[in-house]
Symmetry: C2
Subunit: 398 residues, 2 copies
Amino acid sequence: MSVKKVPFFELEARMKRFRDKMDKSNPEWRIAVIFSKINMYYFTGTMQDGMLLIPRDKEATLWVRRSYERALDESAFSNIKPMESFRDAAASVGKLPDTVYMETEVVPLALYQRFRKHFPFDFVKSADMQIAAVRAVKSSYEISLMEQSGKIHQQALEMRVPQMLKEGMSEAELAGELFSALIEEGHHGVSRFRMFDTEMLLGQIGFGESSIYPSYFNGPGGNYGMSPAVPLLGSRERKLKKGDLVFVDVGCGVEGYHTDKTMIYMFGKPLSQEAIDAHQRCIEIQNEMAAMLKPGEIPSQIYRTVMNKLDAGFLRNFMGYGNRSVKFLGHGIGLQIDEFPVIAEGFDEPLEEGMAIALEPKKGIENIGMVGVENTFLVTPDGGRCITGANPGLICVY
Amino acid sequence: MSVKKVPFFELEARMKRFRDKMDKSNPEWRIAVIFSKINMYYFTGTMQDGMLLIPRDKEATLWVRRSYERALDESAFSNIKPMESFRDAAASVGKLPDTVYMETEVVPLALYQRFRKHFPFDFVKSADMQIAAVRAVKSSYEISLMEQSGKIHQQALEMRVPQMLKEGMSEAELAGELFSALIEEGHHGVSRFRMFDTEMLLGQIGFGESSIYPSYFNGPGGNYGMSPAVPLLGSRERKLKKGDLVFVDVGCGVEGYHTDKTMIYMFGKPLSQEAIDAHQRCIEIQNEMAAMLKPGEIPSQIYRTVMNKLDAGFLRNFMGYGNRSVKFLGHGIGLQIDEFPVIAEGFDEPLEEGMAIALEPKKGIENIGMVGVENTFLVTPDGGRCITGANPGLICVY
């Protein structure tokens, strides 16, 4: 098989940017240890059971427990070593610096304890934010994969979903058909998230009021789910009927890189004027925000600028139905769907060219469901460039 | 929508068994805190963003950040409270005991640190093994769901896959079609694992030599994967050709409860006699092991009994190709596919009636692929009762 490797120059540039970030955030920072497969992939181009040690002043080493052979096949990273156990690697690595930076939002306590037993050190600090900041700015290699994903996404949601909707079909059936269509068009088959214990295989697909039913997922939409045991997949019981709003918020990806997109459809007959008006207002908000996605703009200011313009009536059920509105209007996206920066309070670092952000203004309408839109944009000097299609949604399917 | 709740008596029995386990493992054990959605579901019947506090001598409390409303809808658990933040809950809960038991194999270091900041305590201990031991013994409610899953599994792999195989199709296409078929038959749509950072959405599907290509996954099979970024999904490039062995090792589930099954097919023409003989020997090993799945038998002894009978020639590439043989012959299964007990060294506690175990003797054959079998069994006084069908595999598809 031919392997599409992440190019060597790409890996080198990422590592250099991370080392610069280490210096900038703390000149005493001497080492980072990476365990998560996503960050391992970002820096080495392969996902294995192992760990990546990044000392500040020496070459980084990818230690692989399983599979060393596959890591060599598919990674352009220059320094890959086999390891049977932490003990082996520790004998070769020697003493670590006093303070070790780790992915504290990902590494389970027991893994941390096992690692520390063989690699004793005094203090642990979090490398999560610095890695997130490096990953937030996409290279042209990454952007080209996201553009491919955006085209697949557009084709699937704007062209193919309208042909799938049939009276009497269940949410689960639509999810199955859409998943097949996405794979057929080139989707890499998975939607990945940073958030702890979040299992969003495809996305949220809801018919009518199902799309405002609450879930643990930290997003504006909702859905009944298949059962309490599988709360985020489409329901087998909720069947599509004439007059239903159809809410489709799914991830798509190519070679690990995602786009995010939401489309709304009217099935069988038009929705109420209230729903249509709210939807149009969400489109306007998306476009106003997109115009602000320029280098130098501040995410928290974009958030406040938009929120301050909305009156109390519109804010009711905006970004989530009832008491579960989320505190953001958009989010960074790349190897995972929930990356930095977030368009929210607290994100005060200026946008940079090459950042990728999904904007998703949405509003719940009682008894009808969730209206609004989501598309993925690239930050450019001319404002956000949409890579997932321009259809304003609320597509009529009769 | 009608909600299929986990029955109250079921939740009560699980909690009682866990409290007994607390007493037995350490009379000083005063509290356990559960964060993972799988264990939260096991004890409360709902998966939410929140935490379950289980004091030894008081009623357990499910604190829910999101969604409290949904938790009330779908859980029969008697004590559910809303929480805005750890701070809120801490004010109401008061001081914790000195030692707190947590899911240390799951809870990320940063979540642990945030929790401990608001709920100060001196020592943390692992509750992972005790919870695993309680979950290992299935109730009749759980067994009936696993039996349903087994029927779907049998239908999909024994009846439907042979009809799907077409010359020139890719592994990815087979994966997509099989996933749709499983969902159509009633599969809950996901395969869940305990292992850290393991993303096995469906299972391993490999044509010919792809099925012995290494991956990070800790199992005997392998596959090329879609790309380095999605290493465990089927390849788009490896196309089915006449004479190929087809290896299908996938999970299936109903209402959260899984079965595991592997079937091997010969496409277009028979495999070599060496491969057929090795496959037959794996079937015999499965049946020998199944006969030992009785209450009182010791998993590590079953492992040694089987391994000691095999000669060096057969052991070559047994349970994994080349240097990557795994150190087990079977594994417990339930809400996750990799549960306790494992048929391996170190598992010295006797089997109990109601345990569910997938047996998977497999052997790699150079240039041909992985032969062997896997089925899911229930431990009974008469030996293992297979719930995933009796077809010995190596199905000819011409």
